[in-house]
Amino acid sequence: MNVACRIIDLQEEYIKLFNDQLPLLQSGAPEKMNSLREQAIKIFKDKGIPTNKVEDYKYTNLQPYFKGNLNLAFTNESAHNDVTQHFHCEVPQLKTYNVFLVNGWFSAKESDLNLPDGVVVCSIRDAAEQHADVLEKYYGKTAPMEKDAMVAMNTAFAQDGAFIYVPKGVVLEKPIQLVNIMTGSEDRLAFQRNLIVADENSQLKVMLCDHTMSPQKFVVNSVTEVFANESSVFDVYNLQNQHNLTTQVAGIYVHQKRNSNILTNNLTLHSGITRNNIRVTMDDENCESHVYGLYLSDKNQHVDNFTFIDHAKPHCESFELFKGVMDDSATAAFTGRVLVQKDAQQTNAYQSNNNLLLTQNAKINSKPQLEIYADDVKCSHGATVGQLDDEAMFYLRARGISQEESRVLLMFAFAYEVIEKIRVEPLKEQIRGLVEKRFRGEFDKCDSCVVCGQSGSGVSCL
């Protein structure tokens, strides 16, 4: 059932909404999810939707976006109410296991998934029955709701999402693609809660593709919890491609065990207001983590990447690189907190954030942070803001390359450093081509999916 709510006095009304709809929220949802709701709403009540007074949200005031007339689907049917068209998204040369989620609700998987034995891809609601033990063990364990009001809000309201489990020793060759579609004839608010568990010695790649299919205002609060167990290798690529009226708060929370190797790459190619919360907890020795991001924004878009790498145990390494190009009146923010806990000796942590500002009105706020409580560490961070290098420009111009071409070349070279880190070859090629096109201004980014070129439903450029 769809419930329309007019939100003005934020916290109070969300809490009222929660109290009024609690039976609906709980019905059919896994017990584990329901058991955390009360505690979560209490924390949410306490903290409220963050404004820029909250240090961690200093550059993104979320309150205005959570106001207004928003529709919230409390059942799967209502989430699919006015979905008229089918959506297919594919990257040429890339075979993926496709799974669809509509307005935060698990929709369907392609019938011929042919997953290897033991691999589970389903709705988190279904997981409650067959994989209750996994859900019990991992759900809510790494997303810190006591620290972040948005996680608390998600924990209180989320009813569905994807569940992926890869058992011991299984190597998935093809990536699993979770296509998140926001659509409807009304403005919408959606919550989504994913849980991904890669067991010992397994390997898994996940693509999260966010799309909007209709021109309404969408507000999304999603939380993805990832557990990379001993010696597992896990990649997640978050391709964000939404229209300008979308507000997305996307949290990826990764928990690593011994010898695991993870990579997250947030490719924000087009969006309205995007806030990415990325948290990696290295909870055992010899973990390696790669945290990357690329944001290309224009118009009045706003991208805020907030990362937190927690070196809790010794002998771990982390590599972090975020790059952004801001055009028109776009604003971006980056916070990179690296915490090296006491006794996490022999830690290597490298972090870098580079930004290109193309116009007078573009803005960037960068806030790298190192917090170190151990002494045998090598940590560094670097942040730069600038324009294209005059000398490099001159070099190209001197060789007869036009001003515009030189500009595109240099911008592309700048962005390529992040694209290079993609560990799925066809996807890398695809993104490479897209970014180049984007810099050349060759495709209509407002009207189609930047990843697969699929047409949306006449989304206007705002």
């Binding site: 500002l357 007078q360 790298p368 002494d375 961070h381």
Partner: protein, 482 residues
């Protein structure tokens, strides 16, 4: 090998505070506590004009509405502002013709600190405005400076003698409502220095204020105002040592600098207040607001600081680069040991066109201390072609200490070039090994490496100060590092 190193580090970091002595001078107190009456008494005692009292009262009323900040990476015990004596002055303000008349005990204190007050030391070319607990005691070289038209006196004197200048500039860079401690200072500041360099004058000597926190339970609220008019230059030195004391002492100072067109001010600080004992007991709380306004085109301000003392340091010397082509520079060494905490850094606010700033910050943490760099580089919309480079390094000596960096970059101009780099590391065993192999003891090697590490900053200090800074680094970190 590693054990050796640990032992040496321990020795090196176990040095006791050498300047912990207490001079018994009769001091005039007003009762403990803070109220509007206290502010009035302070103002009356200093025989201040009406506008000054108004300034203080405004600040005090504003302060009442404020809360002590808690955003810093510091663990600050609750401060009882009613348990502090807000005014203490040596009983008789000596008006002296020659050195012989100076209180012998006071002179002995200065001698221990090595302040060049007597004749021979004057030859070293340092004019000293020595402050013991708030009231200026002795000013030297005043005549020489007066010839050039330079004003260098205590701020109380300036309020009496140059009210127009003070009225014009006091609070213009750090307004009374700027922050909690600035408001407190504006309400109760006891004394400080005032410098005015007229147009086109290059100050022939380095101006220096040594001040000490002396009497028991006396918070010191220093206020310094430096105005450099067009085409002038001055190098200002500030150095502090404080006697050993168990009870925490609060220090909330304000330094304001204003530079006009093409003027240059170089402000150097060596801070070695009592850092508390090895268990973290006692020590000075140092909450300082330092800010420079580069008002004129092509003006330049350079902050250099060596912070070795204080139990808690909360200090961000900043530059507002308002004039076109103005330059701000910040060089800092912060050393913390035992239970010391430092949260220090700078703010560079680029407002004018073609402004440049440079930040070099070196932190050294040992023992159980915490050392944070916190800095802001802001480039506003009109600041075309702004340029900033920041380098913040931390060195960790010991596995119980912490080193943190919190830089903020806020850029709203596409012509800006801003770079920030930070590294954190300990002295590598390979580095020590390299030195050992060449016949140096591990102890010398640690010394050499720390010394080399901070050299970039020490080099910016005036010569006399550089020597003292080296000494203070030794006290903070050593027996034999140097």
């Amino acid at each position: 090998m590693a054990e050796d190193q640990d032992k040496i580090l321990e020795e090196v970091t176990g040095g006791e505070y050498k300047y912990g002595f207490y001079t018994d001078i009769e001091t005039e107190f007003i009762p403990k506590g803070l109220s509007e009456d206290v502010v009035r008494i302070i103002s009356a005692k200093k025989n201040e004009p009406e506008w000054m009292l108004e300034f203080r009262l405004k600040a005090f009323r504003h302060w009442l509405k404020m809360k002590a900040p808690n955003w810093a990476h510091l663990n600050i015990p609750e401060i009882d502002f009613q348990d502090i004596i807000y005014y203490a002055a040596p009983k008789k303000k000596p008006e002296l013709e020659s050195m012989d008349e100076v209180d012998p005990e006071l002179r002995a204190t200065f001698d221990k600190l090595g302040i060049p007050l007597d004749e021979q030391k004057m030859l070293s070319g340092v004019a000293v405005d020595a402050v013991i607990d708030s009231v200026s005691v002795k000013t030297t070289f005043k005549e020489t400076l007066a010839e050039k038209g330079i004003i260098f006196c205590s701020i109380s004197e300036a309020i009496q003698e140059f009210p127009d200048l003070v009225k014009k500039y006091l609070g213009s860079v750090v307004p009374h409502g700027d922050n909690f401690f600035a408001a407190l200072n504006a309400a109760v500041f006891s004394d400080g220095s005032f410098v005015y360099i007229p147009k086109g004058v290059r100050c022939p000597m380095e101006l220096s204020t040594y001040f000490r926190i002396n009497a028991m339970n006396t918070g010191q609220f220093e206020r310094t105002l430096i105005v450099a008019d067009d085409d002038s230059y001055v190098s200002y030195l500030e150095g502090c040592t404080a006697p050993q004391r168990d009870e925490n002492q609060l220090h909330a100072a304000i330094v304001e600098i204003i530079t006009m067109e093409r003027a240059e001010v170089k402000y150097s600080t060596v801070q070695n207040w009592y850092p508390g004992d090895k268990e973290g007991k006692g020590g000075i709380y140092n909450f300082v607001t330092k800010r420079a306004l580069c008002k004129g085109d092509y003006s330049k301000v350079m902050w250099t600081q060596v912070e070795t003392g204080s139990a808690i340091t909360w200090k961000y010397p900043s530059c507002i680069l308002q004039g076109d082509h103005s330059i701000g520079e910040f060089y800092s060494v912060a050393v913390t040991n035992n239970y010391q905490q430092a949260d220090t850094g700078t703010k560079m606010i680029h407002l004018g066109k073609n402004t440049r700033s440079l930040i070099v910050s070196k932190g050294v943490s040992a023992g159980r201390s915490h050392n944070s760099y916190r800095g802001l580089v802001k480039v506003s919309k009109k600041a075309e072609n702004a340029r900033n480079f920041s380098q913040c390094d931390s060195l960790l000596l010991g596995d119980q200490c912490g080193a943190h960096t919190f830089p903020y970059l806020e850029i709203v101009n596409n012509t800006a070039k801003v770079e920030h780099e930070a590294t954190t590391s300990k002295i590598g065993e390979d580095q020590i090994f390299y030195c050992n192999q060449r016949g140096m003891s591990t102890e010398d090697a640690v010394g050499l490496i720390v010394n080399g590490y901070v050299k970039e900053v020490i080099n910016q200090l005036p010569m006399e100060f550089a020597v003292e800074a080296q000494k203070l680094l030794q006290i903070s970190l050593e027996g034999s590092v140097g």
